[in-house]
Symmetry: C2
Subunit: 166 residues, 2 copies
């Protein structure tokens, strides 16, 4: 029952980050305006009232992925742990659709300045959705297999992209 | 700078719900196994360790949408309020990509039984990602423009799909 869907996707904008070629998870200087989204002009009216939300979801197409998709992956910094690709946030997956929750810092015309996110500069943006309290913040969420790791707190720093020295 | 992306999307599975033709937000009987996902067999190995998470993101293609996309939308039950499509969770958007956070109830072979979600039966599934505490639950999230509504609590019942009699 293998089935490809041929619908086209619209690029509604572009994500701008400092990450040109190197792997993400670099130190983030949160006070600089290094992370922003440029929305194509025909979609700007769709941003009305977006600024009232603290957080948004960004859905994007990770178009720089060249590695072959495997059903089991070895998450970085996880000591050789092997998990299913759908139990990971690896960008190398059957559909390279990325999802990030970011904070809105400012919206000026067609530019949305955000908190940091770990995608390459120029990544095509597919959608923005408001992150709505109660609907999206699940207070009884857990860490899944990450809870079984000896070095869980360190691993979470990597997963959250927080710079650290050890 | 209008640009369509022609990459194909893989259907990794199908979402099964009781919603055949009617609008969602029907009463949900949470004790029945009415909501589940069937994963295509070639992707089943990707589910390893997924069951350790309480919540997952489902990313799907809302292929039953026929209304024309508008940049401003009138959210249902919001008293004529007009907001940008990206400040809404309307399924009618430039890319009809849906996102839901659901609770995993059980995983049996290639079937994932979940809490309720408001999509039509047979919706193509594109991706599953683990919802990771601290990364995804933003405790300082807000309700955006919804906070300005007189009847905010009632509106949130609709947004969350919770049955109610008034």
């Amino acid at each position: 029952m293998q089935k490809s869907i041929n619908y086209k996707l619209e690029q509604i904008g572009i994500i701008k980050t400092p990450y040109q070629n190197n792997a993400p998870y670099q130190p983030i200087e949160a006070d600089k305006e290094e992370f922003y989204i440029t929305i194509n002009h025909r979609y700007v009216d769709g941003l009305k009232d977006l600024t009232k939300f603290h957080y948004i979801y960004l859905i994007y197409y990770a178009d720089r992925i060249i590695r072959k998709t495997e059903m089991v992956v070895y998450p970085p910094w996880a000591e050789g742990k092997k998990v299913g690709v759908f139990a990971s946030r690896s960008p190398v997956r059957p559909n390279p659709i990325g999802l990030s929750v970011v904070r809105i810092k400012n919206i000026v015309e067609n530019k949305i300045y955000t908190s940091g996110l770990d995608v390459f500069n120029g990544t095509p943006l597919l959608d923005i959705k408001p992150y709505i309290k109660d609907l999206d913040n699940k207070t009884d969420a857990n860490y899944g297999w990450i809870e079984e790791m000896d070095d869980m707190e360190h691993l979470m720093l990597h997963i959250k992209g927080i710079p650290h020295d050890y």
